[in-house]
Amino acid sequence: MQQRSVFIGAGLAGLVLVAACGGAPTSGSGSNANDAAGAKVYAEVNPLTGTARHDKLVELAKKEGNTLSLYTSLNADVADVVTPAFTKATGIQVKVYRADSETILQRVLQESSARFAGSDIVETNATEMAVIADKGLTGDYQSEQRKKVNPEFQYTGWTPTRFNIFAPAWNTKRVKGDLIPKTWEDLADPKYDGLVSLEVGDSDWYMTLYDYFRKQGKSDAEIDKMFTDMVKGSKVAKGHSGQVELLSAGEFGVVAASYSYLTAKARTSGAPVDDQPFVQPVVARANGGGVMKSAQHPATAMLFMDWYLSDGQKLILDNGLTPAIMPDGSDPLGGLKVLPVDVKQLLAEGDEWSKRYDTLLQGGEKAPDAN
């Protein structure tokens, strides 16, 4: 009995230790070789166009096994339409990992530090894509479609695939006629006290608007006053989707910077919300994708990007999002005055703006109670 327990105990401890120790952190199964292989494919295919390119990619994808690993923060209901469509068009199976953009970033960074090739292609918000590209994790992707994207949104290392537009949205039962906001400055008016909701993490919107007003010739003091007035009597909320939900329910009268696709979705399901005509200039932030340098299926990744930027864009449009390239090749932001979120500035100064926005929000007065 005693001897048996000794063996059991030793066996358990041994198992635990084996699980704990792995290879050394820098070892990996030929991931350096992967990087080189990926880069070779990208370099080889980038100059090709049209049918030649497509055929080459299909051929290479077949050799790679006709499978793709996609990390994306695309909404579930849209992804559930997009990826099956790609499979139908090409016969390639897509394994989709979906999460919010910050989690995707953490996962990609964690995996790359362990030289684990988990993803072939990553598609998420501009800020996170910029970080990933900055760290040199994405491969060089060039194509005819990429050139059609709005010139203000051409980025190194990743390509926009859809746009997030921030614009005020209002509840049509509580906000009518003269109360409907026409400009951003309108929101600072005292008539909106108790009606407006601001989102706690929108420091990129804050930064972009601030710069816009500076360019308009306003002084910093004037801009600060305007924002303070906007915050006065406003209700801070967490999460854009929750905000739209509460806007539909009438808890808020106006959401200062709502995602236009969320507003559109609520409106389509019958909720009394609207954001048209847009308050201009709209603030726009791209979401985009990058093929990974360490991808196990680099050609498949390129094939997906090509498809996503052409046929895929129509699906994006049909499902209520704003594509990067309209199906007829035109610019979806054409006809609108657009303020792009400066991603480089966000990376460099994001922390400082985040703190300033924080302070601004916490200085806001309590929303007037009905009591």
Binding site: P25, Q110, E111, A114, A237, G242, E251, G270, Q362, D369
Partner: protein
């Protein structure tokens, strides 16, 4: 004629030299051999093995957190602490967090203990329904529960306020206040206390209360001066979990506190983690603050537990419910009213919302637009059945593994006398104070570098869940052991039972109510675990909480309500079933 044959010798006992063996072979065993024999006893080995497993599970993310907290690009540094605690707003952060934590813990304790007492120790009517209703707030995902309360008690759109308006004027209740936060969080967490106290009250000897009653004490006096002290270990353990959980709580402060400018610890930790570049030193520094509170709590909890005497002792007893007599209808109605307000109301709001295309106040138009469309949409999702299956498997596995490990670990901490056993308790509690994302990152870090096929499978989620829920299991098991006096095990040992026999046939059955409570809690709550799951899962291994998150993030709130209703139905049935099964083990009651 007397037989001269030598008496039969038991081969195991060499009291006389047998032929062929010299006396020298019978010299006293060496010191090393004694030590070896002492160490190789099953109790020690099991204790050490459990300690290794727990240590491994809990220390991996803890080291990852501490490594992040105490280092930056240049190496060791405490800058994170300076930045975290030097912030001028830290005072109000701590103040708000403390008020919120103590308030909601207090409410949960009162509600949970009261309900448990009535359910177990009195003959209140509708016990089965009562039990299910007490658990329901635990099952509803935090986001849904909080939003349901917004729809009930918001000064702007709240239904309760609308009903009361003719009498009390507009906005009687304001859920967007610290009191609103305390109310919602306290109610949401009361099932945890309920489960603890049910286990505790089931194990109390009623003869002490009976003697008090017979000596002339009123029922209330008996409750306060006899019953409560008897269950003190469970009370303290429950209180500790409540406070740390409230300090860690995220949804309630986020949805209800921001409007009011009430920022708490977790808002700050979340903010820090979600921004880029992630300031891990600050996040780690803040989490260390939580760890300190937790360590202090464990210390106090164990002191109190040790001083209390076990109520399950060698004297036999049968727990018998107290007759409420003429108070029965009053108590019955009081409890029904309580449930109507705190459980039924939010559920009805969810049910109502799940039938609408979008949330709107009750009106003719609203009722005309009702349909079951959201339910079909939920089940139409390609992943939902797989996610439900995965969640069930993980829930059952995690709950079972954790309770098995902590049963042994609790024995180690309370009974074994092994050196360093208190440390085991502290280590097992650590994961509670580690933010979910950091926990996930720590686990991912280890298994990305391990040759075993764990990363990218369901196993890594299982490891994450076991780590996450270890502290809860430990608290349930430890407080359970504290209520059992040592006499029973000692008499078993004296009668010749081996350690394993004593453990399996005496201790476990007596511990069963506590273990069952822990099992149920972990099973139910694992369905809602998101922050580690979303980092660690891989395609094909989705769990239900990921779906909940996706529905919420895409503002598909009505479908989310439908999913919530389905979850409640399924889990209530499963939990009631588990309790029916569990009630067969251990102490029987009339």
């Amino acid at each position: 004629m007397v037989s001269t044959a030598p008496p039969p010798v038991d081969p195991g006992r060499t009291t006389r030299p047998r032929p062929g063996i010299s006396t020298e072979d019978l010299r006293a065993p060496s010191r090393l051999a004694t030590l070896w024999t002492a160490l190789a006893r099953p109790r020690t080995l099991v204790g050490v093995a459990t300690a290794i497993v727990i240590g491994y599970l809990a220390l991996v993310p803890l080291f990852y957190l501490l490594w992040g907290a105490f280092s930056d690009e240049t190496g060791f540094s405490v800058d994170g602490f300076a930045r975290a605690y030097g912030d001028p707003r830290i005072g109000s952060l701590i103040g708000n967090s403390a008020l919120f934590a103590i308030g909601s813990a207090g409410l949960a304790m009162v509600v949970g203990t009261g309900l448990a007492y009535f359910n177990v120790r009195t003959d209140v009517p509708f016990k089965g329904l009562f039990f299910a209703a007490s658990i329901i707030p635990l099952i509803i995902p935090g986001i849904l529960y909080t939003i349901a309360w917004i729809f009930l008690a918001s000064p702007q759109i709240g239904l309760i306020n609308a009903v009361l308006e003719p009498v009390f004027g507009p906005g009687t209740f304001n859920v967007f206040s610290i009191w609103g936060m305390i109310w919602v969080e306290g109610l949401h967490m009361s099932p945890i206390v309920f489960l603890f106290m049910v286990a505790a009250f089931r194990s109390t000897d009623p003869s002490l209360e009976e003697s008090a009653l017979m000596s002339g004490a009123s029922r209330v006096q008996t409750f306060v001066r006899v019953t409560l002290p008897l269950v003190r270990p469970a009370l303290v353990a429950a209180g500790l979990i409540m406070i740390v959980r409230a300090l860690e709580s995220f949804e309630v402060p986020a949805l209800l506190g921001l409007q009011n400018g009430t920022y708490v610890f977790t808002s700050r930790i979340y903010q820090v983690i979600k921004s880029y570049p992630t300031d891990f030193p600050v996040a780690g520094a803040l989490a260390c603050g939580l760890l300190l509170v937790a360590a202090l709590g464990i210390f106090i909890s164990n002191r109190v537990g040790r001083n209390g005497s076990g109520t399950i002792s060698g004297k036999g007893f049968r727990p018998r419910p107290m007759d409420l007599g003429r108070w029965k209808p009053v108590v019955g109605v009081g409890i029904l009213l309580y449930f109507a307000l705190t459980v039924v109301a939010p559920l009805v709001v969810l049910l109502y919302t799940s039938l609408l295309p979008y949330y709107q106040r009750p009106s003719g138009e609203a009722f005309r637009s009702m349909s079951l469309e959201n339910y079909t949409k939920v089940f139409d999702q390609p992943l939902v059945l797989n996610a439900l299956k995965n969640s069930l498997v993980l829930g059952v596995a995690a709950a079972t593994i954790v309770m098995a490990i902590t049963a042994v670990a609790a024995w180690v901490v309370v009974r074994s006398g092994l050196p360093g056993r208190q440390l085991l308790d502290h280590v097992a509690f650590a994961p509670l104070a580690i933010p979910g994302l950091v926990l996930g990152l720590g686990i991912a870090f280890v298994y990305l570098r391990s040759p075993l096929p764990i990363y990218g499978t369901l196993l890594i989620l299982l490891i994450g869940y076991c780590t996450r829920y270890l502290p809860y299991g430990m608290r349930y098991a430890v407080s359970g052991i504290h209520t059992i006096s040592t006499e029973l095990e000692e008499s078993a040992e004296v009668s010749g039972a081996s350690w394993w026999s004593v453990f399996r046939r005496v201790l476990i059955p007596l511990l069963a109510p506590a273990l069952l409570a822990g099992w149920v809690y972990i099973f139910v709550v694992s369905f809602r675990e998101l922050s580690s799951s979303i980092l660690l899962y891989s395609p094909g291994h989705e769990v239900l909480s990921i779906l909940i998150f996706e529905l919420y993030a895409n503002a598909r709130f009505t479908e989310l309500s439908a999913l919530g209703v389905v979850m409640v139905l399924v889990l209530v049935v499963l939990v009631t079933f588990a309790y029916r099964v569990g009630a067969r083990v251990g102490l029987r009651s009339d």
